[in-house]
Symmetry: C2
Subunit: 203 residues, 2 copies
DNA sequence: GCCGGGGTGAACAGTCATGTTCAGAACGGT
DNA sequence: ACCGTTCTGAACATGACTGTTCACCCCGGC
């Protein structure tokens, strides 16, 4: 398929973004995309793509590694205030920010093959669990909730918020608060008339 | 690869389950699985699979249609008590029960090509929205929450609960209550020292 | 101007999934 | 035993993707 000059230059601009981020998004939207499609979307030629990552497998694993890097940094950044609401908010914000990468990581069964990556994954997940556990001990999260459910719900909210942003439904700056509020308080109506929810102009 | 007689007869038993359900699970776990793998997993020959569904695309769309059927039935079943907590619980239970099928439907961008399916999808989704909206008007769900966020969170909880069950972390009978409680109350600690030992669905 | 690195397009062989056909086995009903 | 249906294994043609190579171009440094 021929690349139109216009389309190519348009893609060129996208090249400024880290290659692997673009790849993550493409492969997330179309898991079966060919390398030619991936390359075109990233604004480079298939040959060049092959020069950086010899095989498809290598490329996928590189995306996984980068996603893990990002996740790691996000978790590290909340090390200072681990158990507070603000800490949770910050963690959510950082993770939602990297929604596509993380979603790619979480949804790719193929990445389990890579032992090194799996080890890092477990590592970061444990640090995530530690943050949540700390929040539980601080009385921010319910003590009775199993840790795995906390974690899975966190993932679900990150993914949902990121998708809503990408879909244009949710403003990026609103996302962390919405996710945090949902995580902590749910979406049920406040018990009595005491309005705890943000007053919202009717739609 | 040759199929061992033992493995084959084992698969045969699985044939009792609707073919499309098995396909949904396989394609969910390994989106890139070949038709040969799908057929083997379903306990039939590739030839037979081709006889039922001429092309891969046709097969995928059939799975999507079936998933939509199931979803439709789940939503219909709560038509009698639309706005209550019990109604929401029932909806969650039915959807979690069909977690793999629904997840397959939600995660398959390729299905958007099928116009008929897309129309049905929108239809069911709207009925889902109606149920949630009703619950909001009844004071079960917070009035300020945007409908799309309600819906997405519902999806996320269904998917997460179903996955937790499949992973062996969550008992199927516990799932609806856990999901409902999380949806309504979140996972934050109760405001004061009022000891609530377990995720309560106190009425 | 010369040079080198990175990028590009084109072509190639190899591999694999797909879709199709066919002859025959297994099964169930008569 | 007969017959029709369904499933099966095998083989085949086709097409797509992959991974590789090579000649060439662009661009910035020397």
């Amino acid at each position: 398929m021929t690349v139109h000059p216009g389309a190519l230059s348009r893609s060129r601009r996208a090249t400024k973004r880290p290659l692997l981020d673009v790849v993550a998004e493409v492969l997330l939207a179309q898991p079966g995309a060919s390398l030619a499609e991936v390359a075109e979307f990233a604004g480079i030629s298939r040959t060049t793509l092959h020069k950086h990552y010899a095989t498809r497998d290598e490329l996928v694993r590189a995306v996984g590694q980068r996603a893990t890097d990002i996740w790691e940094q996000a978790v590290d950044r909340v090390a200072d205030e681990p158990g507070t609401k603000a800490g949770l908010r910050q963690l959510l914000a950082a993770m939602i920010d990297s929604g596509p990468q993380l979603t790619f990581l979480w949804r790719n069964p193929a990445l389990d093959e890579d032992n090194e990556l799996t080890q890092r994954y477990i590592d970061v997940e444990n640090r995530c669990l530690a943050v949540l556990d700390r929040a539980r001990k601080e009385g921010v999260l319910a003590a009775s909730t199993p840790d795995w459910w906390l974690l899975q719900t966190l993932y679900a909210l990150v993914y949902t918020a990121a998708e809503s942003i990408q879909f244009g439904k949710l403003a990026p700056l609103d996302a962390p608060d919405l996710a945090l509020s949902t995580l902590l308080n749910g979406l049920g109506a406040p018990a009595a008339g005491a309005g705890s929810g943000k007053p919202d102009k009717g739609e």
